[in-house]
Symmetry: C2
Subunit: 223 residues, 2 copies
């Protein structure tokens, strides 16, 4: 059985400047891939045009594969304390599946994010997939439970109540720690349309500080 430990993270010799340059370079590539992913859902162009588009995408894939180790991106940090998880399915700046979500911490410890969810996040017609809401809330809540990345946590249980459909478009989500006791951190959160005060999905989560985290310097959410 797989287990996580501090060995799951790797300290990297990359400087913070090098990390940021890489995020800019590959982030723009990922932005372009989000674009083709979106239009591919909607396009009605005919077979010969599809064939041309496929050829171009295959050529791009070949170029990028010239130097591409098979391993997942993982989570890395450097001596400055800068960390990065480029492949993360929610916040990864190099992962076109991720919107990506960008989180904000307010002075009163509310963690929030506004994010545009396009046609690639659809479930019910014109609405955000219920599982996408749970994906995004799970991540936001894990980061919330990490208490500004001062403690390493893993998800214990997550409960979601689906109250209203959530239309595609700009959404707002926010979470807050509601209790801390020993190794347990409780978080409440919701997601809603950015232009409404009515939650579409409400969530409660119980997060755990694993024993192996005690002696380690690594902190954050293990989502």
């Amino acid at each position: 059985m797989t287990s996580l430990s501090s060995m799951s993270f790797s300290e990297s010799p990359l400087s913070t400047a090098a990390v940021e340059a890489a995020e800019a370079l590959y982030g723009e590539l990922t932005h372009d891939i989000r674009g083709v992913l979106d239009v591919a859902i909607r396009t009605r162009v005919e077979e010969s045009r599809v064939a041309q588009a496929r050829q171009l995408i295959q050529q791009a894939t070949q170029i990028l594969a010239e130097d591409a180790p098979p391993e997942p991106a993982g989570i890395h940090y450097n001596a400055d304390g800068r960390s990065w998880n480029w492949g993360n399915a929610v916040v990864g700046v190099r992962n076109a599946i991720a919107p990506p979500v960008v989180l904000s911490w307010s002075d009163d410890d509310l963690v929030s994010s506004d994010v545009d969810l396009g046609v690639a996040y659809e479930g019910p017609p014109g609405c955000v997939h219920g599982g996408v809401s749970s994906l995004l809330l799970d991540h936001l809540m894990g980061e919330t439970a990490s208490n500004r990345h001062t403690q390493l946590i893993v998800t214990g249980t997550l409960t979601l109540r689906y109250v209203h459909p959530l239309p595609l478009g700009r959404v707002h989500m926010e979470g807050r720690i509601t209790a801390m006791s020993g190794r347990k951190v409780t978080v409440a959160a919701h997601i809603r349309p950015a232009d409404s005060d009515v939650p579409a999905v409400e969530a409660n989560g119980l997060f755990i500080i694993p024993r192996w985290a005690d002696a380690e310097s690594v902190t954050g959410s293990l989502d």
Copy 2:
């Protein structure tokens, strides 16, 4: 506030043969986009090669945008009873975010799926994002609750227990209806590595048959 109704679905004049031809044509395009999405997370090629890859992807996007209405894909069905939701974030054959999941119904009403989750589904290093497990389980459970698409359901509540980390790679998930009472359908499910019997995430869901579904011929999951 958005609400769903039978108007959310649209009957299409497309023949089943035309639907299947479109799924083949655009499904191959989507397959190629999954490929470039995956390698873009892993690539280390230098700036000039990234620029070339971006140019190719932008050209492909332009071609596909020549005829691409802005609307999301929605859910459609034809007079044969064939339905399709090409943009769905979990099962959409035209959505590169979707693995896509393909579900199987066994004789004893177990709904299951085996799916390969590559580096784009990462959360903890080398592992499936906890929120991705909830995304996939939410969808499988909704389809399970639809009782082989004989009833239209929406998600009420979903509870997930994270028991073990789930390594990236081939995973198995399965769900089953555990109770039905009035408008409520209860489903239990789990996800685990395909080569293990030990669940990584266990889930229970309560699904609701909406009142507006009573008079309608449309059935299935509204995920």
